[in-house]
């Protein structure tokens, strides 16, 4: 009988009589011919597209994390829960996410102290928000987000473009 040219675990069908074995062998020859017809550049195109997907999937995780962080920051707000304060608090979170990206850029294994803030943020808001974000970040850095380090340069840009103030205000409306 035959062994598949590209798979060692391909087994044989021992019970075939001679006539069926001939058909089986013809099928194997046909498969070999088809395998031989594979376009020369197939592998490089498949590689490029699948790696692009892998990077896209990795980069897409941060925006999944970000709304959750914003929600948590909102839940932990200090003082009056007036809705007028939401943009400010969301801006704080935006700034913190910028710091988060910075931490990945710097390839720090520990969370960097945020240095980005806006004038509208009260110190207690910032501290409270950061405490929650950093806790979440510690959980994430022990897992999959560590792999984003290699994508850090694009991450920073993604956050800057994806989380504009318009997005934040929309988020505020949703909340």
């Amino acid at each position: 009988m035959n062994t598949h040219p590209e798979n060692p675990s391909h087994d044989t069908h021992e019970s075939l009589d001679a006539g069926l074995a001939v058909v089986d062998a013809r099928l194997a020859a046909l498969a070999r011919a088809d395998l031989g017809q594979t376009p020369a550049t197939l592998e490089s195109r498949v590689y490029d597209r699948s790696v692009a997907e892998l990077r896209r999937a990795a980069a897409a995780r941060l925006p999944v994390v970000a709304p959750a962080l914003i929600f948590h920051v909102g839940q932990a707000r200090v003082g009056s829960p007036r809705r007028a304060q939401w943009p400010m608090r969301l801006a704080a979170c935006f700034a913190l996410l910028g710091a988060l990206a910075g931490a990945f850029v710097a390839r720090n294994s520990t969370v960097a102290t945020p240095t980005i803030a806006t004038e509208a943020i009260r110190p207690q808001d910032f501290e409270q928000a950061w405490a929650i974000v950093s806790t979440a970040l510690e959980d994430e850095t022990s897992g999959e987000l560590v792999s984003l380090q290699t994508e850090a340069t694009t991450l920073d840009g993604r956050i800057g473009s994806a989380w504009s103030m318009d997005d934040l205000l929309l988020e505020e409306g949703a909340l």
């Binding site: 040219p5 099928l27 395998l35 376009p39």
Partner: protein, 199 residues
């Protein structure tokens, strides 16, 4: 083509390879693509007979693999090949369903099936291959899947059992039946021979 000894080792190093690939290791991805893309392509092309469509299917399969591995949705338990070819079979089935629903709009159709001459094939083989492909079209979808998974995909019966969710014994019987039908289609004289044997 790889040698058998190398191939035996491949299954043993698959888990670390998949783990590396999931983290985006370019070398690991290259190795995965090198190992499996041609088999997926050959399987797809055997059914659709169109290079572009077969490549689209192949790329789609590997994009799915990348998304699942990268997203941590797959953990290797010795069934990667079965999973990979299950994804591939599902893509092929989706395509065939689309073609049957919208034959006029499809990019490839069963009715447009064409037998292409294998590169560097012996002219005598060409006729043989054409007749064999034509005979394969007389098989039911399930029987044809077994033939194509076995020969183009290069799967073992155990792996096919995992792909198709059928017992190995059932697949062996179907494979036997498919071969008999192919033989009878290719060589009608064998029908007479079989009838005489059974009398």
């Amino acid at each position: 083509m790889r040698r058998n000894g190398d191939e035996v080792d491949q299954s043993q190093d698959l888990a670390p390879l998949l783990q590396a690939a999931a983290t985006g290791d370019p070398g690991a991805w290259q190795e995965l693509v090198t190992r499996y893309s041609r088999r997926v392509f050959a399987l797809a092309k055997s059914r659709c007979r169109n290079d572009d469509v077969a490549e689209d299917i192949t790329q789609s399969v590997f994009v799915t693999v990348a998304a699942k591995l990268g997203g941590g949705e797959y953990s290797e338990q010795g069934r990667f090949e079965s999973w990979l070819f299950r994804v591939a079979m599902n893509r092929v089935r989706d395509l065939l369903r689309r073609n049957r629903r919208h034959p006029a709009q499809s990019d490839v159709g069963i009715a447009q099936d064409r037998c292409e001459a294998p590169v560097e094939a012996n002219p005598l083989d060409l006729d043989s291959f054409q007749r064999l492909r034509a005979a394969m079209q007389t098989l039911s979808d399930v029987d044809r899947e077994i033939i194509e998974l076995r020969h183009h995909g290069g799967l073992s019966f155990k792996q096919m059992s995992e792909v198709l969710d059928e017992p190995v014994g059932t697949l062996l019987a179907r494979h036997h039946r498919a071969l008999r039908k192919l033989r009878d289609t290719l060589e009608p004289a064998s029908l007479v021979h079989n009838a005489e044997v059974h009398q």
